[in-house]
Symmetry: C2
Subunit: 235 residues, 2 copies
Amino acid sequence: MIKYIGQTRILVAVDCIIFGFDGFDFKLLLIQRGFAPEKKKWSLMGGFIQPEETLEVAANRVLMQLTGLKDVYLEQLQSFSGPDRDPVERTIAVAYFALIDIHKYEKQISHEYHAEWFLLKDMPQLIFDHQEMVELAKKRLRYKAALHPVLFELLPDKFTIPQLQALYEGLYETEFDKRNFSRKILSTGLLVKQNEKDKEGSRKGAFYYKLDKRKYSENFQAFLKFIPNPDKFLV
Amino acid sequence: MIKYIGQTRILVAVDCIIFGFDGFDFKLLLIQRGFAPEKKKWSLMGGFIQPEETLEVAANRVLMQLTGLKDVYLEQLQSFSGPDRDPVERTIAVAYFALIDIHKYEKQISHEYHAEWFLLKDMPQLIFDHQEMVELAKKRLRYKAALHPVLFELLPDKFTIPQLQALYEGLYETEFDKRNFSRKILSTGLLVKQNEKDKEGSRKGAFYYKLDKRKYSENFQAFLKFIPNPDKFLV
DNA sequence: ACAAAAGTGTTCGTTCTACACCCATGC
DNA sequence: GCATGGGTGTAGAACGAACACTTTTGT
C-alpha cells in the first residue's frame, strides 16, 4: 500500500473543541490527558485517524467516545501543522468544533477521560497548541453565529427568549437590547411559541419556544452586505 | 522519531486552487499531471508536505514552484480525507486557495508543469476530488468576498472601477447596477483615485484607482447582520 | 455626428437603533 | 404591596434598491 516513494508519512489526529451552554455561561468540555507527555494536563479530546476513516468520521467517533452523543453539530475548523506541535512525534491535527446541548451530555458522561466542563472565560492552560485552536474556534463561532442561526444547536428542545439572549450575550461578551433582540429573532420566523412557560428564571415566567426545524435547515444560510442581494449567492 | 505505537501514518498533501482574473473572466490555473495515475489529466497543483514544513509553508512552496510568486494571498480551505481519494495510496489533502494577479504570473510561467489558465465556467474534468475542492473554493470565495474586500488581491496595482465591477460580476455570475456598485465601493474609503486613465476599455477612458493598503489591512474584517454592531465582534 | 462606455443623484422603502413603561407572579 | 424579570411599541436615522441622463472621445 506504500506506493509514492520517498515521501514522509505522518500521524494525523482530530481534536474537538466542544462547546456547551448551561443557560448562563459558555462552556468547553476538556479532558485530563491520561498518558505522557503532559499527563494530567488539560487537553481537548482527540484521537488519531484510523485507516478506513474520513476525518469527519474520526471526529464523530471521538465525540461519541467522550459524550455518548451522535448527530451532533460538527464543523471542520482548520488544520494545525507546526512540525513540533506534538513533542512526541510529528502529528498534524485537524480541529473540529462541536456544539452540543449540555443537558443531553450530563446524563451520559464517560468518566474514563476525566472530562470536565470549564467556563470559557476561565479555562486552565491547555497542552500543545490547543489554546490556539480554542481561540480560533471561538472566533469562527462568533463569525458564524452573526450570520447564521447556528447557536440553536446549543439549546435544548424548548428554550425561552431570555435564555437565547443570554446565549448570544455570552458568546459576544456584551449585552443586547432585549426589545431589539427579540424582535430580530422572532422576525426570522424560526421560532414557534409554546403555551408552556419556564418558571425557573422569574416569577412571571418566560414562554418556551421551539425551533421550526424545517425553516431552520432551509434558512441556515442567510444575511449579508457588500453585495446587493447576497443571500442569493452564498448558498 | 516513531513513538506513538500502533497508529497509522499517512501521506499529507497540499493542493492549491489558484484563482486569477484577466480583466474579463475568472480563471483557474491547472496543471497537466506528469505522472501516473491519471497522467496527462488536468489537476490542481499540489505536493506532499515535507518533514520540517508547516502546511502553510508547503502551500507557499507549491505555489512558488508553479508561479514564481511569493507573498500571495493564500487561505486554508479544508482538508479532504476520503480513504480512497487517491487510488495509489491513502493521502489526506489540505486544500488552499490562492488569489493572484494574473499579469504578474504571465511573465514568470514555468513550463515544467504544463500549466494553463482555464475559464472557471469552462473547466476540464479534474482528477480525484479536485472538482469538489474547486466548487468549495468558489463557494468560500463568494462568501468571503461578500463580506470582505478580498478580491483586490486579484487585481493589478492600478485598476478601474468598471474592471472591479466586472470582477465581482464574474464571481457572482450576475450583473450589478453600476451606480450603486461604485457608490458602495467608494464609500469604503479603500480606493485612491489616480489622475491617469485607462483608455483600453472605452474612448472616454476610466480613471485608475489604487488600493489604500493601510486602510485595506485595517478594514479587512468588516460588515454584517443578525448582531447589532457585528463588526465589533468579528475581529 | 454618432457610437460606446464612464460617471453621477434622487427618491422611496426597509431596516436599525435607541429608548421606557406595563405585566404577571411569588414572596 | 413590592420586587423581579418578561414582554411590548415608536420615532428618527441610516442604509439599500431602483432608476436615466449627461459626459467624453475616437472614428
